[in-house]
């Protein structure tokens, strides 16, 4: 039913589509958070009289930001260790690229069918914040150092609920490959209904992973100018922005694969499934934006305490619930 093209073009296509989805998602974050705050946000349609100078639409505003940064000159402080400083964004990008290839998008994924793909994606996603920590620590600015300390603390905070929540899904589907998790959900019910606790825990962890408002502590623009990214400019900053766009698209499609059956309604044809996947993506992103607009920023210790209280409890509850499901009413899980 799904075209299994296990070749290099398939992976490249998946990477480009995932990047393009990421651009749309981050545009949606900026647009909805603006509309919620009584203002208009980046234009969907530029008024007629300005079209000549300001273009027709700003739907791809994040893409323009990235392109502008790629063409800009990059200043590297003398006192920073330039080689490490330059390679940190590249490390982040390679991790994200590999993770993008491994997460199935609307059921299509050339490589995700091998057994341990879930563990591989988790490891790769963990590499991104570590690369930013490296970049910040190496850049000689005090803000970089403070920023990467906070980044490291935040990673510890949101990784525990994230990993417990994701492995609860693996327990329920009794497999570690994302493709078969999606297949398991298609045959029975999406895991969001069966196990809402770990879904909530993973959702809150994703808000932390994307550094959105309640948890944008490493890049708190008022306290630590831009955290690890303070000294980056021009092309290197462009690479980091590409990383951010990819990160939001991978996290959202991972969440959909694990909890919403990858958007695969059994009896529908291929193009419709892709449409449903994108709609579910926009729905999840709008929920994330609502959380982003509603809250001020936590302090790092408050964030740490909060993560250990609410999401970790939720994911633990989800784990217990999953085991009870598995041994008591196996019918629901495997039918």
């Amino acid at each position: 039913m799904t075209p299994t093209v296990t070749s290099f073009e398939g992976a490249l296509l998946l990477l480009l589509v995932s990047f393009f989805l990421g651009v749309l998602y981050s545009y949606e974050v900026r647009k909805i958070s603006a509309r919620l705050q009584y203002r208009r946000g980046p234009w969907l349609l530029v008024p007629k009289s300005l079209r000549k100078t300001l273009g027709t639409t700003r739907l791809l505003q994040p893409l323009y930001d990235i392109l502008k940064l790629l063409y800009k000159e990059s200043i590297i402080p003398e006192t920073a260790r330039t080689r490490l400083f330059k390679t940190a964004p590249l490390v982040a990008l390679t991790c994200l690229g590999a993770a993008a290839i491994l997460t199935p998008l609307a059921g299509y994924s050339p490589f995700a069918s091998f057994e341990l793909s879930l563990v591989a994606v988790l490891y790769l996603l963990l590499g991104v914040p570590l690369a930013f920590v490296l970049g910040g620590a190496v850049s000689s600015s005090p803000w970089g150092v403070v920023g990467s300390q906070r980044e490291a603390e935040l990673v510890l905070a949101y990784e525990t609920p994230f990993i417990i929540g994701v492995f609860t899904v693996a327990v329920m589907a009794d497999t570690l490959s994302i493709q078969s998790i999606v297949a398991a959900q298609i045959s029975r019910y999406p895991y969001l209904l069966l196990n809402p606790f770990s879904a909530a825990a993973v959702f809150l962890a994703i808000v932390g992973k994307l550094h959105l408002k309640p948890f944008d502590i490493p890049e708190a623009e008022v306290e630590v100018v831009a955290g690890p990214m303070t000294e980056y400019s021009g092309r290197l900053l462009g690479l980091i922005e590409i990383g951010k766009v990819l990160l939001i698209s991978i996290s959202v499609s991972l969440f959909i694969d694990l909890f919403l059956a990858g958007g695969m309604i059994p009896r529908l044809g291929y193009p419709l499934v892709a449409l449903i996947f994108i709609l579910e993506g926009f729905l999840v992103v709008s929920l994330i934006t609502l959380v982003h607009t509603l809250n001020p920023r936590f302090r790092i210790d408050q964030a740490f305490r909060w993560y250990l209280k609410v999401p970790t409890l939720l994911s633990a509850l989800g784990l217990v619930w999953a085991y009870s499901l598995r041994y008591l009413h196996t019918a629901i899980l495997w039918g």
């Binding site: 203002r39 100078t53 300001l54 700003r58 323009y64 063409y71 000159e73 400019s233």
Partner: protein, 149 residues
């Protein structure tokens, strides 16, 4: 006229860094009002960044007192090329109301901004209304388009 992709990206996502060089902070709050809901500058993709490294448009307000003049120059250095300098308010352009009447230089001021860094766009007004600041930013976009470095 068809813009090359490089120029189009540069014009469609100008990031502003606001450098406060003295002055009575009236222009600064009018600039902040440009990002408030009524005159929302984010419609045009403009973002107010607090880091000179991430900026394209370097917007200066205030008559640059002597103590902040060297810091203003060093921060101007941090902005990567291509960059455009906008002098916002009468103080930044000519020292405005803080000039002495007998033409002698004011002991405290390191001179209007044009004496310290090359200026591209001027926005008169004390304080200039948000509309004229937005018009100044649009002029700065055209200047960005012409810069070819």
């Amino acid at each position: 006229m068809r813009l090359s992709l490089k120029k189009k990206a540069r014009v469609y996502s100008p990031w502003i860094f606001h450098a406060h060089a003295g002055g009575c902070n009236n222009c600064d709050i009018e600039l902040a009002a440009c990002f408030a809901p009524r005159f929302d500058l984010e419609r045009m993709g403009v973002q107010l960044r607090n880091n000179p490294r991430h900026a394209d448009i370097f917007l200066v307000t205030g008559p640059a007192p002597k103590q902040i003049a060297p810091i203003l120059k060093r921060v101007y250095e941090q902005v990567p090329n291509p960059k455009v300098v906008v002098a916002c308010g009468s103080c930044a352009m000519t020292g405005g109301v803080y000039n002495r009447d007998d033409g002698k230089p004011n002991y405290a001021l390191g001179g209007p901004v044009e004496r310290l860094i090359p200026v591209d766009v001027l926005i008169p007004g004390c304080p200039p209304k948000p509309e004229s600041i937005i018009e100044g930013v649009l002029l700065a976009l055209e200047k960005l388009r012409e810069k070819n470095s």
